[in-house]
């Protein structure tokens, strides 16, 4: 049974919500059940931002992820808040350029990626989220890279497609 419950978390403006959306769209490309649920309210104004994405071949219950199979964090407060939400044996993906502490858990798998650096090498810091997303998809295989690229093609801005694609591929290398 394919079932991934993912939390993406970071600062507003890092593309947290959109990386969740692209993954959800990729799930839709494969005709899986998907849900995307953002934090909303005052949190939207500049502070932290997070969203829950569920991709499953079964009907989805609550769209709010509490026990995450994967957590992706792009800042220190998000690591503090969500490290404990990873299920045992689950996956934690960290932007090591922005998170200045080591995770405490030893019962989960951790992938650390200097996503800002990698993104800058590819062309823009703004696509650090795509570097992390690439690693997530490569590691979990929840959707195929092809579906993710299709999602980007159909729902992303055309002029960023090649850049995003490169960022995803660079990120995937960290998960191999």
């Amino acid at each position: 049974m394919a079932n991934q419950e993912i939390i993406f978390a970071g600062f507003g403006g890092q593309g947290i919500l959109s990386m969740g959306k692209f993954l959800a769209y990729a799930g839709l490309e494969e005709d899986l059940n998907v849900s995307w649920f953002p934090s909303y309210g005052p949190e939207m104004r500049g502070g932290t931002s997070n969203c829950s994405v569920i991709i499953s071949d079964e009907p989805i219950g609550s769209p709010l992820v509490v026990d995450a199979t994967t957590v992706v964090v792009m800042n220190r407060p998000s690591l503090d808040k969500f490290e404990s939400h990873v299920v045992k044996g689950g996956l934690l993906i960290i932007d090591s350029d922005l998170v200045n502490r080591e995770p405490e858990r030893d019962d989960i798998e951790v992938i650390k990626i200097p996503a800002q650096t990698v993104a800058e090498e590819v062309g823009s810091k703004k696509i650090a989220n795509m570097v992390l997303l690439g690693a997530l998809v490569e590691k979990t295989k929840i959707v195929s890279m092809e579906s993710l690229l299709n999602a980007l093609k159909h729902h992303g801005k055309e002029q960023f497609f090649e850049l995003n694609k490169k960022a995803l591929e660079r990120g995937a290398e960290f998960a191999r």
Binding site: L28, S35, Y40, G41, S62
Partner: protein, 356 residues
Amino acid sequence: MAEKVLMKGNEAIGEAAIQAGCQCFFGYPITPQTEVAAYMSRRMPKVGRVYLQAESEVAAINMVYGAAGTGVRVMTSSSSPGISLKAEGISYIAGAELPCVIINIVRGGPGLGGIQPAQSDYFQATKGGGHGDYKLVVFAPASVQEMVDLVQDAFDVADKYRTPVMVMGDGMLGQMMEPVEFKERPKKELPEKTWAANGLRGREKHNIINSLFLKPEELEDHNNKLQAKYKEIENNEVRYELYNCDEEMDLVIVAYGTLARICKNAIKMLKKEGINVGLIRPITLWPFPTEAFEKVMDKTKNGFISVEMSCGQMVEDVALSVNGRKPVHFYGRSGGMVPTPAEVANRIKGIVGGAK
């Protein structure tokens, strides 16, 4: 077949209304429903229809009254404190027998409360809210797709019975994205709106949109007419889902909206521990699906538990439906706290006595 698209609940509401022929939308910003208004403000002018941001929820619902009286399909949307402000207008709309659709994306209360998901407007929606003997048909979708389907149905039900219909979601349903499909819908046979006050246009006698009946005899007649209509709605429009209710059960959960989905997760968790729990999911909160209880009454060992994101509102209708025949339990969180499946499962284990 239409293509599946990923949409936020709030935006799906807007698109569903447009596809149902909603001619006018009157809104006012309030979290967590503002995307409904924002979506309508983008789309309605593009399809040659009316979007207007009112000066208040009070004005918005009275604009709905005005537009509905001319016979066009009209919708407004708000969240809990805004619905309280609309309550006056809703009572007038019910009294004047006007069809319209009202969206409530519920947040925690009372007062200004919070902005996180809640179900604490159950009483307000199903037991009145405004003054007088009136009822709202209340739909409670549990997914974005169901939101789309029920918003479209809501316009039909409103027109069929000349009555306001509320579609009640919560912040979670409004904010989440899920795949939706806008299906081709067969055209419904609906009564002609001969009562509409849109100008005489050659008609001999004027039409009056009104809820004032100064003579007690006339007002009682009017109330009796409304009650007869509500009876008909009770007979025809009850909707619910039974989940995992075929076998003997340790307990039956009653839950609606997003919380029903959470309860389904809890049911799956409990099944692994050998505890068999069913679910009654009311889709119409009014009329309440009393008949669903008859179907499971003899199959539940420990009775029922009403699980709500409120301090205990629907549980009163559950108790009325059970009518003393089986125990009725309650579990609720409030203020925007959303119970987890594990929490619900634990509470149920406390009632049925752990794994067997």
